[in-house]
Structure formats: structure tokens, C-alpha cells
């Protein structure tokens, strides 16, 4: 597909949200956030989270928001839906650093990416696609029914698939 026809079923996953299912899922304008996809090789389904921060520090009210709890909730809900952990693979995109030189340390993107990767390693889930870092925003769309394709559009217009 060179021309992306937006699938009308596409669900937007906002900051800190997550969802599992078979319909396409999209997160627009990821800056330092990470779009985390856990795809099950069997059944054409999976889940996506829009991770904002690296560490929940024990908080559980918004599991999709933090790297550690996002990996856990996606694994748990996919397992409950019949997916085996051994069948799962992960893809991640985002974690950019858009503004430099501010005292507020806007460079949380790298820490987000590291934390997501560590949490995936902890669960022994294969990380098969990774498109993180840089300085540009990204919009991502995940297609569970199309073998877990994750299409990434960068701010400069480039489209990449992982």
C-alpha cells in the first residue's frame, strides 16, 4: 500500500491510553512518547499503548501511561484473550527529543525507550521493530490483521514500516 487509505475503523490511542483488539490503532504526533505494539503471531490480534513516562512508581490508575505498567497490562490482557506470551512480538516507535537547551529537561524520550525495552526484556518478548530517537514527531498506525504492520509517518513526510 503506497497510498494510505485511512481505515474508518481505526481507533485513536491518546496519551496514556492502551487497547487490545483486531482493528487498526493509531497514535498521532508522538514526540517523547512511545507507541508500543505487542502483536500476537497467531490470531491477527494485538495491543497498542501510548506510553508517556518511563516509571509508574507503583501507580496503577493509568497502566498505558508508563513503560513498565503498559507492557504488563498488554501482556495480561492479550493472555486473557488467548494469546501466548511466546507468540508475542513487540514494535516500538517514538521517543524523540524535539527541543534542546531548556532547563525543564525535555529529553524524556530516550528514557522512555530504554524503559520500554527493559520491560520487554524482563518479559522475554522479542523486539522485532524499533524506530526511536531523533528530533522529529511521528504518527503511527498498527494493523493487527495485516500481520502486525506498524506504519510510521515522520514530520518530514517520510513513511516507514516496521
Amino acid at each position: 500500500m503506497s497510498k494510505e487509505q485511512p481505515d474508518p475503523r481505526t481507533v485513536i490511542i491518546g496519551i496514556g491510553e492502551y487497547q487490545i483488539g483486531k482493528t487498526p490503532m493509531s497514535s498521532i504526533g508522538l514526540g517523547s512518547c512511545i507507541g508500543l505494539v505487542l502483536h500476537s503471531r497467531a490470531g491477527g490480534m494485538g495491543g497498542m499503548a501510548h506510553v508517556m513516562l518511563p516509571d509508574s512508581q507503583g501507580r496503577g490508575d493509568r497502566p498505558g501511561k508508563f513503560a513498565d505498567t503498559a507492557v504488563e497490562i498488554l501482556v495480561t490482557e492479550l493472555a486473557a484473550a488467548g494469546c501466548r506470551t511466546s507468540q508475542m512480538m513487540a514494535k516500538i516507535a517514538g521517543g524523540a527529543s524535539m527541543f534542546k537547551g531548556f532547563s525543564g529537561n525535555l529529553n524524556i524520550g530516550e528514557r522512555n525507550a530504554d524503559a520500554v525495552i527493559a520491560a520487554l526484556n524482563g518479559r522475554k518478548i522479542d523486539l522485532v521493530g524499533i524506530e526511536v530517537g531523533g528530533t522529529m514527531g511521528r504518527t503511527v498506525t498498527y494493523y493487527p490483521e495485516l500481520e502486525g504492520r506498524m506504519v510510521i509517518r515522520s514530520a518530514d513526510g517520510r513513511i516507514k514500516e516496521i
Binding site: 485513536i12 496519551i15 504526533g29 514526540g31 508517556m52 524535539m98 527541543f99 531548556f102 525535555l106 514530520a155
Partner: protein, 211 residues
């Protein structure tokens, strides 16, 4: 809830004064009328930011707010991509719209940002009787949602679930230019500004001594 409706009204009035000053400077630079809307203030859940801020390419000029105010915050000048060239053309006296952005455009955008945001913060701080200064600007041509999201995830904002989205649109109908000013204070700064505004209102409503 971060703000009640009365506090929203007070903040809107404050923003109105700030944005009017920013509009005046833009009007002077472009030598044209600038139309301005009443600031839009919404308290929204972070998961809904995408409904108000898109991923369509824009010039984004970001300033950190410094000065006599606690907490931290940012001002973001957002110029949609199709307005960028028209804006710099109007400023630099050029007419060609089908051209690439150059260093000249970038300097012009930083300068416009500097002048508008300084006027915005000056007027706002003047009303509150404090000093607020913009940091040097940072310019990027990127997705607005990605920029706002990066700010909300930065350390100054801690771990928030709701955000006050403060936006004013400034337009030049003559040049077909639109730009938006976003004010993004973190919670300590917002609290301090709101309590200053409340004090101002109380002082203003006290009976005058006319002996």
C-alpha cells in the same frame, strides 16, 4: 478539576490582554489588521489532547517562562505550514509562495516569536504586577501534538492527568495568515497565577473609601 469556571474566566481575561498586545506587535510588523478571538480555555484529559492539537506540520516556536513566578511553564507560537511562507513573505517583502524555507525564514520566525511572546508575557505580568520573561526561543518545523506532548511529559509538569489548554488565535485576513499562541503553565505556576488573579478581583471589589 484544575480550575472552576470563575477561575477560567479570570484566566481568559488575563490571556485576552496578553494576546491583544501580541496582536498589536504582529499588526505593526505586518502593517495590517490582525483579528483575534477570545482565548479558548479548556481543562482536558491528557488522552484527549489529540482532539485539540493535530499532527499537521507547522512552525513551532517555543519559549520557557522565566521571572518572578513560581513553577514553570511554556509559551508556544504555532503557525500552520500554509501560513508560514505567507507570514515570512509579508515580513520580508517577498511574494513567491512556492519556495523552500530558508535560514532567512527561520530567523524571521524566531524574531516574530520573540517580539510577540515578549509582548504577551509583558502585558500579562504587568497586570499581575510581576515580571515574566521569555527564554531564548527554540524553533522546529514539526507536528504540534508531538511538541505539546513532549512539553507535558517534561520534568516541570511532573505526572499529570489533566492539562489546561489555553489557546488564542490571531489572524490576518489580508495575508491569509493564521497563528495560535498556547500558554502551558505547570500546576504550581497555574496555581500562583490564579491566586494572584483572585487577589486582584477581591481588591477591585472592595468598597472604596471616599472620605
Amino acid at each position: 478539576m484544575l480550575l472552576n469556571s470563575q477561575q477560567c474566566d479570570a484566566l481568559r481575561e488575563l490571556g485576552n490582554i496578553g494576546a491583544a498586545h501580541a496582536a498589536t506587535t504582529l499588526s505593526t510588523m505586518l502593517m495590517t489588521n490582525i483579528e483575534m478571538d477570545v482565548p479558548d480555555i479548556k481543562v482536558i484529559d491528557i488522552s484527549q489532547v489529540h482532539q485539540y492539537v493535530s499532527d499537521e506540520l507547522a512552525a513551532l516556536v517555543l519559549f520557557e517562562i522565566n521571572g518572578e513566578v513560581s513553577g514553570g511553564g511554556y509559551v508556544l507560537l504555532h503557525i500552520p505550514k500554509n501560513s508560514v511562507i505567507r507570514l515570512t513573505n509579508a515580513m520580508l517583502g517577498m511574494t513567491e509562495e512556492e519556495r523552500e524555507l530558508t535560514e532567512m525564514d527561520e530567523s524571521a520566525l524566531l524574531e516574530i516569536g520573540n517580539i510577540m511572546v515578549s509582548a504577551f508575557l509583558d502585558a500579562t505580568a504587568g497586570l499581575l504586577n510581576i515580571i515574566m520573561l521569555p527564554s531564548p526561543p527554540s524553533l522546529t518545523i514539526d507536528m504540534p501534538h508531538a511538541a505539546v506532548q513532549s512539553i507535558l511529559a517534561s520534568e516541570g509538569f511532573m505526572d499529570i492527568n489533566e492539562v489546561v489548554l489555553f489557546r488564542t488565535e490571531l489572524r490576518s485576513d489580508q495575508h491569509k495568515i493564521i497563528n495560535n499562541l498556547f500558554l502551558l503553565p505547570n500546576e504550581p505556576m497555574l496555581d500562583e497565577i490564579v491566586s494572584m488573579l483572585e487577589n486582584l478581583l477581591i481588591t477591585a471589589s472592595e468598597p472604596q473609601d471616599i472620605t
